[in-house]
């Protein structure tokens, strides 16, 4: 299993190219997704399945959260994908185009059957659900809690906008509601919320603007379509020194107030309330997970 709980970035590596799969282990993404779905043509599904299985089992990159994206729920490949993926024992299996809780329950049940047959620990492999249609967004709350294995949901904006007959734009207002709906469902279920990709790999300014929205809304991470996006996205989800110091000051002020048995606590002329404490603790937890020492030096 991954040592880190960070899920700031996930990068897809197509299951057809050994060199891309090997290289993907050397980038800075927190989560590496070996893909059996969209990046693999129908004639190479069998080859990709073997390659991904053996990569995860015998050549697994250290310190990364490893996922396998299987083929679609209603595809002819899914069952064999699960047979291979569960036995490879990644940290999670990523399921594309989830629309109903029942689909997740069926996959959970199948995974459990395979784990039992294979003599593996039951329930250890998590599930990430890709929400890629209006139906998935509408059912996000039920999907998020469909199985204890569900550890994250990720919005797939391209397919979602297609299902809405909407146009995909860089400002992203067409996915604003979907982002919030998925995010709230994740928060309710206590799981990780992963934002949609920013597809234009040559537009670094656009990525920055998109990330401002991603982070402001409260997502925990974002899927990258290209390795060059990884460091920018990681930086977005890593608290700055200023944010860390502010968080520390909030907690220090609360500590001081508790010592003095003061009912109300203030900082810089403003009241420190429960949401501020929660945000401060969250910031410090993220900083710690990212390996930042509170003095500003990285571990």
């Amino acid at each position: 299993m991954a040592k880190s709980e960070l899920m700031r970035t996930s990068l897809y590596a197509g299951g057809t190219s050994p060199i891309k799969m090997i290289q993907a282990g050397f980038y800075n993404e927190d989560c590496l997704v070996y893909d059996l779905e969209d990046s693999v043509s129908a004639g190479e599904k069998d080859a990709a399945r073997f390659l991904v299985y053996n990569a995860v089992k015998y050549q697994r990159p250290e310190n990364k959260y490893i996922l396998i994206r299987v083929n679609g729920i209603y595809s002819e490949y899914l069952d064999e994908d699960l047979e291979a993926a569960v036995r490879a024992q990644p940290d999670a299996i990523r399921i594309p185009k989830v629309e109903y809780a029942e689909e997740v329950k069926r996959i959970d049940k199948r995974m459990t059957e395979i784990e039992r047959k294979a003599g593996l620990p039951v329930g250890q492999i998590q599930i990430w659900c890709n929400i890629e249609s209006y139906q998935g967004v509408l059912n996000a709350r039920e999907i998020a809690t469909a199985s204890p294995r569900v550890a994250a949901m990720a919005l797939g904006a391209e397919d979602f906008t297609a299902s809405m007959t909407a146009q995909r734009t860089k400002p992203g207002w067409e996915i604003f509601y979907a982002r919030n709906a998925v995010l709230m469902a994740c928060r309710e279920a206590g799981i990780s919320a992963q934002d949609a990709v920013f597809s234009d790999i040559n537009d670094s300014e656009g990525l920055q603007t998109d990330l401002q929205m991603t982070r402001t809304l409260g997502f925990d991470g974002k899927t990258c379509v290209h390795p060059r996006q990884i460091d920018t996205v990681n930086a977005c989800f890593t608290p700055s020194q200023k944010e860390i110091r502010n968080a520390q000051r909030v907690l220090e002020a609360l500590e001081e107030a508790a010592k003095n048995h003061t009912g109300v606590c203030t900082l810089d002329g403003g009241m420190v309330d429960k949401p501020m404490e929660l945000r401060a603790r969250c910031t410090l937890a993220k900083a710690e997970a990212a390996g930042i020492k509170m003095g500003g030096q990285t571990k």
């Binding site: 050994p18 990569a55 064999e80 036995r87 003599g119």
Partner: protein, 100 residues
Amino acid sequence: MKIKRPAMAGTLESSDVQIILEPNPGSGIEIELNSDVKTTFGDAIEATIRQVLDEFSVTDAQVTVHDKGALDFVIRSRMQCAVCRAAEGKYDWGKEDPNG
């Protein structure tokens, strides 16, 4: 498994290996290995190929290997795929399951 027809798996990309498997009835396993690192890793590559053939109980096959610096997991994967294609069979993912 019996090799029924010629089959290929893998590519000639860097870090990959292309494996061509052909029927070789009654003549055992014959391996032709082409690799820039044959002097250093030839024995290891051949050992992996023979090991996979053994796991599938393949006794007769002509194997042509074009290695482009593939790691062991890649050679294993391409061999498994080539055998299944050549034998026109599905891989039994549960063959080593203790509770199967």
